[in-house]
């Protein structure tokens, strides 16, 4: 889709990143080996369901995880290793070279300062300019992201603004220092659709104006389809498929990706077409059993899947990789070939609608 995606220099390289948290129940393996390379100006979409590790990965990049988190692997920003970097080193990068946009602007903005103060604060933290200059720049930035009457709104407090305008303020702060990487974690999830469209435009403007690469984390396959150059699909703390946006949507090679695509209600599909849910629910990340974590929900799972976790391997062309023992068999397969339009909740023996491939491997997801 975008030529930038394949030609630019690599700005962010994540290699075999793992994050785990000790809890009373045992070690939660939230991220179990994530690797990706982000090139200049590229937009990488990361999709997955709640608990798939997509947010924890980004928090690790920003150095925002609690001290109890155990992090291994490597995160390199323009060659500089971020894992194990001291707070002072991270502070030089955060907000200047790498910026982050969170889901809820009300919690990422400070309620006791005006939005102008907060945008200016971001500028003053990394630049040697006067307060008056910073304020002028703040107004410019707010105007760029489409805050109406930026000259007046600059003196507003967050509570005086609507959700959409607040999120634009957060985007203005993120672009204030022309970052090389913007990480946007569910930036439009809390917003209504008409406002979501406006904020996605603002985000696109910010990315183009600053020339930053962007990691766009979302559960919304529609948003990713419209924005991303490449897509990374995560399941149970690991990437299960990565490729150009068209590869992922039109030529998926991992049953989970197919399942996601089949379960979304689409405005462009026939109304009579039933949705295709994925039975069961994601596994607990404590004491994850061996094998592919999608096995209990997978319609084509075999004995081998319970023993061996498939690595992420190239499918056909170089950038498209999938983690499934049977990805070669999934060429040209569409969601309805694998999944049924059942209304059941988990795979149990009394579900006649289940496809014949593979035997039931587990009854459900209850502990």
């Amino acid at each position: 889709m975008s030529t930038a995606a394949t030609t630019g220099e690599e700005v962010l390289v994540v290699e075999d990143l793992t994050v785990s948290f000790p809890t009373d129940d045992g070690l939660v393996q939230a991220v179990r080996g994530v690797s990706y390379r982000l090139r200049e100006r590229e937009i990488l979409g990361i999709v997955g369901e709640s608990g798939s590790g997509k947010s924890v990965t980004s928090m690790a990049i920003m150095g925002l995880l609690p001290r109890s988190a155990r992090i291994t692997g490597s995160i390199r920003f323009r060659g500089q290793e971020l894992v194990g970097l001291r707070e002072s080193g991270l502070n030089k990068l955060r907000g200047s070279k790498i910026a982050m946009i969170f889901q809820d602007p009300m919690t990422s903005l400070n309620p006791v300062h005006t939005v102008g103060y907060q945008v200016a604060e971001a500028i003053l933290a990394h630049n040697d300019v006067s307060k008056a200059q910073a304020r002028r720049r703040a107004v410019e930035l707010l105007d760029t992201v489409g805050v109406p009457n930026a000259g007046q709104r600059v003196d507003s407090y967050p509570y005086e603004l609507s959700g959409g305008v607040r999120q634009r303020v957060v985007i203005a702060i993120a672009m204030a220092n022309k970052p090389d990487v913007i990480i946007a974690d569910e930036p439009t999830t809390a917003l209504d659709v008409t406002v979501q469209a406006q904020v996605l435009d603002a985000l696109r403007t910010a990315q183009q104006e600053t020339g930053a690469a962007m990691v766009l984390i979302t559960h919304d396959l529609g948003v990713v389809a419209g924005q991303a150059d490449r897509v990374l699909v995560m399941y149970a703390g690991k990437p299960v498929e990565i490729g150009d946006v068209e590869d992922i949507y039109y030529r998926p090679r991992m049953p989970y990706t197919l399942g996601l695509l089949g379960s979304v209600p689409r405005l462009d599909a026939s109304r009579s077409q039933r949705l295709l849910p994925i039975l069961g629910s994601p596994p607990s990340l404590v004491n994850l059993p061996a094998g592919c974590p999608f096995t209990p929900r997978c319609p084509i799972a075999q004995d081998r899947c319970e023993r061996e976790e498939p690595p992420l391997v190239t499918v056909t062309s170089h950038p498209h990789r999938a983690a499934c023992h049977f990805s070669q068999d999934l060429a040209g397969v569409r969601p309805h070939d694998l999944f049924t339009s059942t209304s059941a909740d988990a795979r149990t023996e009394d579900h006649p609608g289940r496809p014949s491939a593979g035997e039931p491997t587990g009854e459900g997801d209850l502990p």
Binding site: G164, D192, G226, P265, D345
Partner: protein, 351 residues
């Protein structure tokens, strides 16, 4: 066929009479000033002149963005919120004038499923107790309660042996199924579904949507499906009503309304929903609305959408704009195939 199946099927003589009829419903909330005895300083116009009907076995989708009044409408339908004026008729009985004991009996006929199952299920009760609670309150199924609850659990796709577990032991989708089982326990005719799948991940959501579909077919239930997600509503609804700032701006058969939306707000809403198809999504033309919904304490005069309306801003002349300012457009058939509340309604395919 099991004992919880109803006999009402679409097409029977019953289907001709609406099960629920809402006429000119108005719900206002007073805004009070400071202090214990603060005087009323304003009014939130949450729902204004809303009328609709639901027939047995059908689904009416009530859609709109946050603050449009769709949830308030659904509460007023159940008698959980007092209507300022207007009528809610359930099988020709006006809820407002019903004595408490009649209301109590009528409540069995209409049940609600909430958005967040974790917040609507008592964490200290077992699933059996949760589902059996309405049966206990209304004193029904005394003899066969255990079998009946087990059957309800199977009906919603839960393992009936899990009745002694607590809500926290279930996943989000399963919890929502528990909420649905409880709502079904008294064999209602109408289910109000208030954002029933919004809190669920998409792969789980699909199963619950399919379940609601199956239950409707099997039990002949009528649904009032309240949601902000138009893709889900398009999937489940037979008819759709679009709300903006307390008013219904457009209503019609689901297929027809999505194919030929005639109100600029409906057009913007449909065009803003992303489609999970990269090529289609990148080629789409969006109808962009500016700004956000005005405060319902001081709604714009005339047409409430005019402050954000792209047609008002770009295509109407001064005289036409004056009309939008002064005259509230009625929800009426304007030659677009279905009722729409816009003086200058014009069906435009946006998909």
């Amino acid at each position: 066929m099991t004992s919880i199946d109803h006999d009402a099927t679409p097409g029977s003589p019953d289907a001709l009479r609406p099960i629920l009829s809402v006429q000119d419903l108005v719900v206002h909330f007073p805004v009070r000033g400071r202090g214990l005895l603060g005087r009323t300083t304003g009014t939130v116009h949450a729902v204004c002149d809303v009328s609709f009907e639901i027939y047995p076995g059908e689904t009416l989708g009530l859609v709109g963005e946050s603050g449009c009044g769709k949830s308030t409408t659904s509460r007023a339908v159940l008698g959980l919120r007092r209507a300022t004026s207007g009528q809610v008729l359930f099988e020709d009985q006006d809820l407002a004038n019903l004595p408490p004991d009649r209301m109590r009996r009528l409540r069995r006929q209409m049940q609600i499923v909430f958005q967040d199952p974790m917040a609507s299920l008592d964490p200290r009760l077992t699933v059996y107790e949760i589902i059996a609670e309405p049966l206990r309150i209304h004193g029904v199924h005394k003899e066969d309660r255990h079998q009946y609850v087990a059957e309800l659990m199977r009906t919603v796709g839960l393992n009936s042996e899990h009745g002694n577990r607590y809500p926290h032991e279930f996943s989000g989708g399963q919890r929502q199924r528990i909420g649905i089982a409880r709502a079904l326990a008294l064999e209602p005719k109408l289910l109000v579904l208030d954002e029933p799948v919004s809190a669920l991940d998409v792969s789980i959501q699909a199963g619950v949507v399919n379940l609601l579909d199956d239950l409707q077919r099997r039990l002949g239930l009528a649904y009032l499906f309240v949601a902000h997600d138009l893709s889900v509503v398009r999937h489940v609804a037979d008819r759709v009503a679009v709300m903006y700032l307390g008013r219904i701006v457009e209503t019609g058969e689901c297929e027809e309304l999505f194919a030929n939306p005639a109100h600029p707000y409906t057009q913007a809403l449909i065009s803003a929903i992303p489609i999970p198809d990269p090529r289609k999504e990148r080629e789409r033309r969006r109808i962009v609305v500016s700004g956000e919904m005005p405060s319902p304490t001081d709604p714009p005069s005339g047409c409430r959408f005019r402050t954000r309306c792209p047609m008002f801003a770009d295509r109407l002349d001064d005289a036409q704009q004056a009309r939008c300012r002064q005259e509230t457009p009625e929800l009426a058939e304007r030659g677009q195939g279905h009722p729409v509340a816009c003086h200058f309604a014009e069906a435009v395919p946006v998909l």
